[in-house]
Amino acid sequence: MKRLLPLLAGLLSACDAIPADPEQTLHKVQARGTFRVGIIDPGEEPMGQPQLGRFLGSVARAAGARPQVQLGAAEPLLTELEGGELDLVVGPVSRSSPWRTRVSPLPPLWKSKDGSFIEVTAFARNGENRWIDLLYRQARAAGSVP
């Protein structure tokens, strides 16, 4: 039993390391003290603003980092996210957008009720599973409150 304890401790610590980020996104965010977020310009009708604000605040608290915000159109922001130049992109995106397979969508923060199938969603870079795990929890909490 005594010989098993170090092995069990090793296994438990390995489990704690899972999931990890291949590109170390969460680690870099915490080291920098900031996370680079692109906000998609909502146009004339801002959608889901309270949820978005709540979400960014909770991410900042959970990660121990401040948001470094950049406004812009969806396409260039999502391209930068895919390339690793942003850590997070949030904003209104159609449910049928092809970007939903190129980057990882999180639980929606806000959904349209007028039949336009627009959702205010946060996106993370594919495969950064530890960062996605943190964002997922905050997105579910923020999106659950109207």
Binding site: A14, A17, I18, P19, A20, D21, P22, Q24, T101, S104, L106, A124, R125, N126, G127, E128, N129, I132, D133, Y136, R137, R140
Partner: protein, 309 residues
Amino acid sequence: MKGQTPPEIAADLRRAERLEWLTIGWMVSVVVVMALVMGSSQAMRTAWIEDLLSLVPAIVFLIARKIEQRAPTERFPFGYARSHSIAFLISAVALASVGASLLLESGRTLLMAEHVTIAPVTLFGIHVWQGWLMIAALIYSIIPPVILGRMKQPIAQRLQDKVLHTDALMQKADWMTGLAGIAGILGVGLGYWWADAAAAAVISLSILSDGVRALRTSTAELIDGAPRDLEKDKIDAETAALVVELQRRFPDAEVRVRETGRVIHAQVEGVPPPTDVALDELWPGKPERAWRLAQLSFVPAGGSRHAEA
């Protein structure tokens, strides 16, 4: 007169049928569990498709068993024993497809450097990394193939049943894919995005090799090739011994053998047939395997337009 099953193998055939029904039931449960946890993971989707394909050999075995027991008719005067050969071809295609799809999918993932996202899920208010659920599902998916494959192999050997043997190979493909999947998800979890695809690529080569070998043997059987060994692409040892024995008894004749399902049909050309033939006496191997020689036919000299060997 129904299609006759040699009484020596009737019990093994019934056992094989029960195993195939168990395979279908158990693997359907695996398919359902995998569908529930696969999420957007392409690797899990590929494993799920492979589990679906793994049902093919079991299903075609049972269908072929039903058909081959039918009595000969005017339209099918030789009966339906060849339905087993068609089932073998279909099973071989399924096995090769599993290997090929796994290789293509893993190769694509590695070439495109796709980073797999495995997000958490919320179960009863608790956030759980979905990878743990996938690993649990994959562990469950390994258990039936390991047990069923080990049970099928000895029966396949005794029956010289290539469909059952291919099905056992498919079970081996299933558990190897499951193990590769577990290693891959743990690798992805540790930040090695390529782990899943790399493990799958290695496994796929073994599965594809088995599938291609099965395809070669099944097509050889359909074009009246000499009976092949179950495991290797070479003429079966019992067949080789039978040819030697028939050549010894009929030294001036040309001897040909072919396989129809589990049994062998031998043809002796160029000599008059003896007045009395006992198939069991002709069989050179173990007496309990004599059922394999199902027919000995004689063709008079000049009675065939076969090309000479």
